[in-house]
């Protein structure tokens, strides 16, 4: 390699490292800002005035509003698991294990993860869009001018609502998923009803339920934090809100899967 080629390669490497460094610094700064906004908002939970009414309204809008999509997802997840599980287990003559296989998959893994992904898609996007539009139309500034802290009034109730709503929704997901799995396994594929439910009850321990609920709780905080933050910091333009909404769903979904891996390794 000639001296000139070395210089060009060196410059290229410097630019690459510079760009990488800026990207890393930007991400760290973004995470720090989000953590600051989330923690300072959550700290207001003990400060008057109590936002109970707004929390209940958000719980209804986010929780009850997401129930149908959670129920449909839960039902089809249970049905597919049962169908797929049956044909896999049948190869080894272990169809009787279908109940426990379906239950463990749903309660420990698919319930929290798919429930969280559905919530971030359905409710998370609306949280980001709503707060982003409030920023564009100066409603957040109007709250400040009326001596109302937007973090207490807008962000806090939504984070608490997603945190409380998701474990409840995941419980619904689990129940509906298990029911649907039972119908496919027992009624359609002919697995013995006693074997299905007996295996299910025998192989599910309280720790499995705690693991699922703990994941749902953690995902709820994560969804609330990311989606409120993205709306709160949205660039105050139409395009900015659209981008923030897309990013909230994408970043939220990826973060859920990453956190799921960490939590799964912790709970095993």
């Amino acid at each position: 390699m000639s001296a000139a080629q070395s210089v060009v390669a060196g410059n290229w490497l410097t630019r690459l490292l510079g760009r990488l460094g800026r990207r890393v610094l930007g991400t760290v700064s973004w995470l720090g800002d989000m953590a600051t906004i989330t923690v300072s908002s959550l700290a207001l939970i003990f400060a008057p005035p109590w936002q109970g009414r707004h929390f209940v309204l958000q719980l209804y809008a986010l929780g009850v509003g997401s129930f149908i999509i959670i129920a449909i997802t839960g039902a089809f997840t249970g049905m597919v698991l049962s169908l797929q599980g049956y044909y896999t287990l049948a190869k080894f003559g272990s169809e009787s294990l279908l109940g426990s296989a379906v239950a463990l998959s749903i309660i420990r893994e698919l319930g929290p993860v798919l429930g969280a992904l559905m919530l971030v898609g359905r409710a998370g996007s609306s949280i980001t869009a709503e707060i982003g539009i409030m920023r564009v139309t100066e409603q957040l500034d109007a709250l400040k001018m009326m001596a109302v802290n937007p973090q207490a009034r807008i962000i806090l109730p939504r984070i608490v609502a997603t945190t409380v709503a998701l474990p409840l929704l995941v419980s619904m997901f689990d129940i509906i998923g298990l029911g649907a799995g039972y119908v496919v396994g027992v009624e359609l594929l002919g697995v013995n009803a006693g074997a299905f439910t007996g295996e299910m009850i025998a192989k599910i321990f309280p720790e499995d339920l705690y693991a699922g609920w703990s994941k749902a709780l953690a995902f709820g905080v994560l969804i609330g934090s990311i989606c409120t933050y993205m709306g709160y910091r949205a660039v105050p333009t139409t395009e900015g809100v659209a981008r923030a909404t897309t990013q909230a769903v994408v970043i939220g979904s990826v973060a859920i899967l990453m956190l799921d891996y960490i939590l799964t390794s912790f709970f095993l």
Partner: protein
């Protein structure tokens, strides 16, 4: 009452406000005027503590707004009101709840008393009877008036108006302008109006501040401004395209660029 000292606000390399001193007179209507990008909205946001200066201070009754805690700031804000450029009514609430919002938040008044106050404030802006309408059902002028009623709900000492007549038809603009003048004088409040509407601004102003490139270039009564010999002031007042305030923001002359390109092509 409100005093800004050496107020500077930078956005990256852009200096929106440059070492500006402003004194807002108590119980008077101060109109801040200037062309687009002159720094008037930035100044309003700094005076109302919606933004923090890069340097300098904003004094409100002895408190430097940039250096006080949130609790004290919110105490001071309960003495302020603001009418935003696009009204900023809370979309999820109807007219009644929008106007009653600060009362619900900061007082323990009985709902019947709040209802009376809301009715009174809406009557002042000529919209009593429209309590049930949602913001999406209001015209621009009506929304501005509801925002005005909301700003007045707590009987503030200071009200900020950001472009109160922008986007309104002449009649609605006239109604809003008259309302600002009447209510300011009747309630003895301090009004700070940011506008580029010369006619409306000068017609209601007790005191005028004219900004250009982030600096105050003229200050005084409406007559002082009308009779100013400063060419920048007369150009702005008369709306002349030619003068010391350039229309084009381009950094280089278009003709030079064209000739330069043509010369480059030939070479």
């Amino acid at each position: 009452m409100i005093r800004a000292e050496k107020l500077t606000r930078r956005f990256g390399d852009t200096v929106a406000l440059d070492h500006t001193d402003v004194h807002i007179r108590e119980h008077a209507i101060t109109v801040i005027m200037g062309g687009s990008g002159s720094g008037k909205t930035t100044l309003l946001r700094l005076l109302s503590a919606l933004d923090v200066p890069s340097s300098g201070s904003v004094w409100f009754d002895g408190d430097d707004l940039a250096h006080i805690g949130r609790k004290r700031l919110y105490e001071l804000r309960s003495r302020m009101g603001m009418v935003f450029q696009y009204s900023a009514l809370l979309n999820s609430l109807n007219v009644y709840d929008n106007v009653a919002f600060p009362l619900h938040e900061h007082t323990d008044l009985d709902e019947s008393v709040i209802r009376t106050i809301v009715s009174m404030k809406l009557e002042q802006v000529g919209l009593r009877g429209f309590e049930h309408l949602m913001p999406s059902e209001l015209s621009g002028g009506m929304a501005k008036r509801v925002a005005f009623a909301r700003a007045l709900a707590m009987d503030p000492e200071v009200v900020f108006f950001d472009e109160p007549t922008s986007g309104l038809d002449p009649i609605s603009a006239g109604v809003v302008t008259t309302l600002i003048q009447d209510l300011s004088h009747k309630t003895n409040m301090t009004s700070i109006v940011v506008t580029h509407d010369v006619h409306a601004g000068l017609s209601i102003a007790d005191h005028v501040i004219l900004l250009w490139q982030g600096r105050v270039i003229a200050e005084g009564s409406a007559d002082d401004i009308r009779n100013s010999s400063d060419e920048r002031v007369t150009q702005f007042i008369e709306g002349r395209p030619d003068g010391p305030i350039p229309f084009s923001r381009s950094k280089t002359a278009y003709l030079d660029d064209l000739l330069g390109e043509a010369a480059g092509d030939r070479a």
